[in-house]
Symmetry: C2
């Protein structure tokens, strides 16, 4: 087997132990004579898998009883529509009375910008703070956030995967529900769920394979009754009432997530992961701060622990990606929308991978110091 | 490994060769040093997987160039909304002009009934023929179908998974696009794609694991431009323009589907599968027709080759399921909505499995002949 370190932003590296277990169980899950892929989603075997996954997730994160856990499909992009369609009260779509809902968005990068645009299709969604003017190299000062009195919710993207920033403080929402896209930082450190009304995360970063999205939503925010004009599958109520089994869920993806939850528990839970993630990120950021060639995109206090965005300069970035790949460091190219370089160092990236990357960056800098000085 | 025959209606049995390959490649796909679950969906390795899957599917089915193939999420239940939201022209939802679209549905069982109800949320969807009066023990005579002049499309569920009937003839749609839910018969026999405007199939029956839905849609039916009020993720245009990579697709599920397509080619393609499927179904139906205990639910000419619904009588069905399970025949209970028994004998169910089931049914009948005669 070729040894590579995979710095992909998602789908991303998974714990090797999880993959080994999945391979071993592929044809026969715990002696039941079939693969998890072949099981009826109504079988007791699968019920055991999804129930245990939810229980382990609740334990790990500390999810209070008045929050529901949903395993859905469609990724964050589907949540961009489901959030306004479900949480904007007096929703415009299909609403008989023509009233319009309102929501306040804090735009800190590519994904919150997309979420805002999608929400604007369904009501009055407004950007109340953004760092777009500095190209998302920071997050706005949360102390200055002014939430509108008519807002049905306030929306943030906790960790911007493309831009590499993170919100370390939460806005004062004046009692409005806070909705957080945590796709790229979910399970990377402890969170206080009660500070949020709804949390969602596409699994394909820190949690499992692509194809399942985890939604944690406070019960009282799930609309009662049918929402006119909203597809049944886009209503949180549909999935909450059916325990994520309204229709066939992405069973195999949920099964892998369950294994990741177990693995996280074995690693000291979220507090353990936070320590490891801080150490890994520090290795990379410390080097970036000292380097004469590389520089990080995001100001220090707003840097993501998960997605480290940087550059070696326009002339060297492509060479860096190519040389890195030849040395077994995969997927270091920045997102196509912003360019540059990016190392995603999720939970499952071992510290050795980051150490090896920093070592390689040192070598690269040494080799290219002349060209760097001439820029 | 426990040897079982899995008659689940979905998720369902997969070819053992496919599972073996997947297990072997779990940690290292073709020497690239990572699992398919860990690959960026923008990587050349995954691009190779999805492109090859589409190519093999096109070869297998004979999909003309003016049809697009989409790999989506959300199952048939999501298609129940996407079809009207995209194909009802002058759609009501979010439509500025307040006009309403129209569609004609043929209701032959549980799933077409659900599809109709969902479509009625978005416009004027009408049932133009149904066999509900005889509890879906047949399909309506296609010669008598009257399509409305204002219908934007005509909808059928080709094979009703719960009820066990199949449409062997297609209605004359008077030139209107025919939309077919083929979830439980897709790839079980050859089809003439040009007779349809849109075909969809949740993968978890004949194609692969749950979590991916295949849509085959004629290009001219995909709306140009944005559909107001329709979530971006619910617009076929979004996915068609992005080659199913608008956002992260269910990569691993697509990879498994690709392996199933290769396996189908090795089995003589769809003509080969049809022959095998006819032989397998004949084994079971011939026995049912001769049995004094069991009887099939559906009249002979409308019987599904995939989902064989039958009963041993209310008093014996539960005993049959339990005894069968003890002998390694799994998931023979009928759908909770209709009761009775059901054997789903998809492509990957070996003929030996059906032979063994019939043998067991004979034994069961012999043991229970007294109680059967007393009913």
């Amino acid at each position: 087997m070729t040894k590579v370190y995979n710095f992909s932003a998602g789908p991303a590296v998974l714990p090797e132990a999880v993959l080994q277990e999945a391979a071993a169980e592929m044809l026969d899950y715990q002696g039941c004579g079939m693969s998890v892929m072949e099981m009826s989603h109504r079988s007791s075997a699968f019920k055991g898998i999804i129930d245990q996954a939810e229980k382990d997730l609740r334990d790990l994160v500390g999810i209070p009883e008045n929050y529901r856990v949903l395993f859905l499909q469609g990724g964050g992009s589907t949540q961009f529509a489901m959030v306004p369609m479900n949480l904007m009260r007096g929703i415009a779509v299909g609403g008989a009375d023509g009233s319009v809902g309102h929501a306040d968005y804090i735009v800190t990068g590519t994904w919150s910008k997309k979420a805002l645009a999608e929400a604007q299709r369904f009501g009055d969604a407004r950007c109340i703070a953004t760092s777009v003017d500095t190209n998302f190299d920071r997050v706005p000062d949360m102390a200055n956030i002014q939430v509108n009195a008519d807002a049905d919710y306030v929306y943030i993207c906790m960790n911007e995967t493309v831009n590499g920033n993170v919100l370390r403080e939460l806005p004062d929402t004046q009692g409005k529900p806070l909705v957080a896209d945590m796709s790229s930082c979910f399970l990377s450190e402890p969170i206080d769920v009660e500070r949020y009304g709804l949390i969602f995360a596409g699994a394909q970063k820190n949690v499992g394979p692509a194809g399942v999205t985890i939604v944690i939503v406070r019960e009282d925010l799930i609309p009662e009754g049918d929402l006119p004009g909203v597809p049944t599958m886009m209503q949180y109520r549909t999935h909450a009432d059916a325990g994520s089994l309204y229709n066939t869920p992405p069973c195999y993806a949920i099964y892998i997530c369950g294994k990741v939850f177990k693995w996280l528990k074995s690693q000291g839970g979220l507090a353990g992961m936070q320590k490891t993630n801080q150490d890994k990120a520090a290795l990379l950021y410390d080097y970036l701060d000292k380097s004469n060639l590389f520089r990080g995109f995001v100001r220090p206090q707003d840097r993501s622990l998960m997605n480290v965005t940087f550059t070696a300069g326009d002339e060297l970035d492509a060479a860096f990606v190519a040389e890195a790949k030849a040395r077994g460091f995969e997927n270091l190219k920045g997102h196509r929308s912003v360019g540059g370089l990016r190392a995603s160092i999720y939970n499952a990236m071992p510290v050795e991978g980051v150490q090896a990357l920093v070592e390689f960056m040192r070598e690269f800098e040494a080799h290219h110091s002349c060209s760097s000085q001439s820029i």
